[in-house]
Symmetry: C2
Subunit: 345 residues, 2 copies
């Protein structure tokens, strides 16, 4: 399955990562996710003179990108509202005129901008909007499926659910187990080259979309499904619940950022208690998979010292009686050990 729902999407790596005039690190999280998880696909970054952030990749322009073999420019930057600035539109058209395909994770769609569409058409280049769900998603059925699935769930948005699922995929593959990351957000879709932007599907089809990205599998491997939002986020919990039901997870990993003071964007909503959050996810997950088990906790400790991070993982691990690690700084080997031991039969 390609990102286009076809077997051979015309766009693909090598990538030129477009950062434009980005000024804060959070705004380039799509580019950073790609550069971190798929460095072999990323030739360099293309920045405006006033860009204040870097991925640490070589700075190359469109002509250099083409000369080095880039096939696609990725809009790896998001500003408030996900809109395209005039500068960005100009740069996208220049990339198309240089013969590059262009893909984007922005809310504003490349495919809805007439000048961009015209430039793509005249050069025979492809536009891909990672946030645009493909038509034809079915309603969820709740029917049991073959194979095993793990879903990353969270206390909040942006706590490491995608990184955790990708780290689990990498570890399982390194150990020789078939494993596939299943993307549900724009960055994950660009990393995986496939997936469904689950927060952009029509509400009636959330669980159906989750079912369709993780179909029957019969190779004794695992689907590692990227969670979204949180059952405790009042803006987005419906997405999280539909994804949980449709995923029918055999295993859950709870993701958490221990320095977060309140739910993302909502200062009056505290972060839920970890145990309450795990129990709520397990209770809801049992509707479609009564045998669901928690197999670990993933902490994003990027704002803690190494000593503090270790202490936090020890405390949370003891609380749950489960392995607790930061997937980025500590890996996920203990969680994978426990996962495999828990599903040894």
């Amino acid at each position: 399955m390609s990102a286009l729902g076809e077997d051979a999407a015309p766009w693909g790596p090598p990538y030129l990562l477009y950062l434009g005039s980005a000024t804060d690190d959070l705004s380039i999280k799509t580019a950073r996710g790609l550069a971190y998880w798929r460095p072999q696909w990323c030739l360099g970054q293309y920045r405006s003179a006033d860009c204040a952030v870097t991925l640490g990749l070589p700075d190359i322009d469109l002509a250099q990108g083409r000369a080095y073999g880039a096939r696609t420019m990725v809009i790896g930057v998001a500003n408030a509202g996900g809109v395209m600035s005039a500068e960005m539109v100009t740069d996208v058209i220049a990339a198309l005129e240089a013969g590059l395909h262009v893909v984007s994770g922005l809310h504003h769609k490349l495919s809805e901008h007439p000048d961009i569409v015209a430039a793509a058409r005249s050069r025979g280049c492809t536009l891909f909007d990672a946030r645009l769900p493909r038509p034809g998603t079915p309603v969820g059925t709740g029917k049991p499926r073959a194979g095993r699935r793990l879903l990353t769930v969270g206390t909040d948005c942006s706590v490491g659910k995608m990184y955790t699922a990708l780290a689990l995929e990498r570890s399982l593959r390194e150990r020789g187990h078939p494993a596939d990351f299943r993307a549900t957000g724009q960055t994950g879709i660009l990393v995986a080259g496939a997936g469904i932007p689950i927060d952009a599907v029509v509400a009636d089809f959330i669980s159906g979309a989750a079912e369709s990205i993780s179909p029957d599998r019969t190779d004794a491997g695992w689907d590692l499904i990227e969670g979204q939002g949180s059952l405790f986020h009042p803006s987005f919990a419906g997405v999280s619940l539909g994804l949980l039901h449709g995923s029918q997870p055999d295993a859950l990993v709870l993701c958490h950022e221990p320095t977060r003071r309140h739910m993302r964007g909502l200062v009056d909503y505290p972060i839920p208690d970890l145990m309450t959050c795990m129990e709520a996810n397990l209770a809801a997950a049992r509707l479609t998979n009564p045998a669901v088990k928690p197999v670990g906790v993933a902490l994003n400790t990027s704002h803690l010292s190494e000593h503090e991070a270790r202490g936090a993982c020890d405390r949370v691990g003891a609380l749950f009686g489960l392995p607790c690690q930061d997937p980025v700084s500590m890996g996920v080997e203990a969680i994978v050990d426990h996962l495999l031991a828990s599903f040894a039969n």
Copy 2:
């Protein structure tokens, strides 16, 4: 707020209810809901020769409809998949040519059929698709709002959540309390003339849509919000949870159909236990309104004898220590008594 999000929608009653070639009663539930709740708006039914069901209204054709003062034809029939048959398209175009506006609750949109759009344009008539969400719905904020809200929740889809909310509106108004039914589905939207089809909004905006249909109110009245789906329906629970969070209900009424054997459309999923279902809804609702209270249970007893219905209500009422009634056959006065007593201050 009109159904179009404007102050004066061009379409409106008096209505001619189109049943087409409907052959089963379930397929005309939109027409039946309108005829039951807004009989004063419904001049008659327009049926094909092979139509096997009736609303008990006068049979009139397009010419008679116009002569009697009909302003709008309502597509009150749904077939599997919500598609428009060729016959229906022909009849819609004939209605437009007769000068009637046309509104529809079907999944297939009037506004996406070129011949229908052309006919409407040439006659200056309006098309309204009740299932098409208006653009501009915001993301939910979880911010407390002024006023009081009641949400009807259910053990399953199609158990009486809309009828219960409408019955509560009618009873409160008859007692002199300001009260407004807030519609979240296509039939409710046609009955109310306003609302948002919550299952058709983009997933990220479910709770935001619920917030926007029940804004601040300062007249000491009640919003009666039409629930959708069930937290225990694996296809649609995400919609139900987002609606629950966005509604911030002060009061819940649980709706149930006691002869239902399994979740609608899913033979392997049993109906949840009533107490479990109420507790799960209360627990989830507390995220955005910690003071939420259950105020009653509404049973759809249409498949029971009067004696059985009375027994079922007595048992369920005793179980919860709350009034339990069938809104259609028994009214909702006991539930309204309890609601008003529970929020007397």
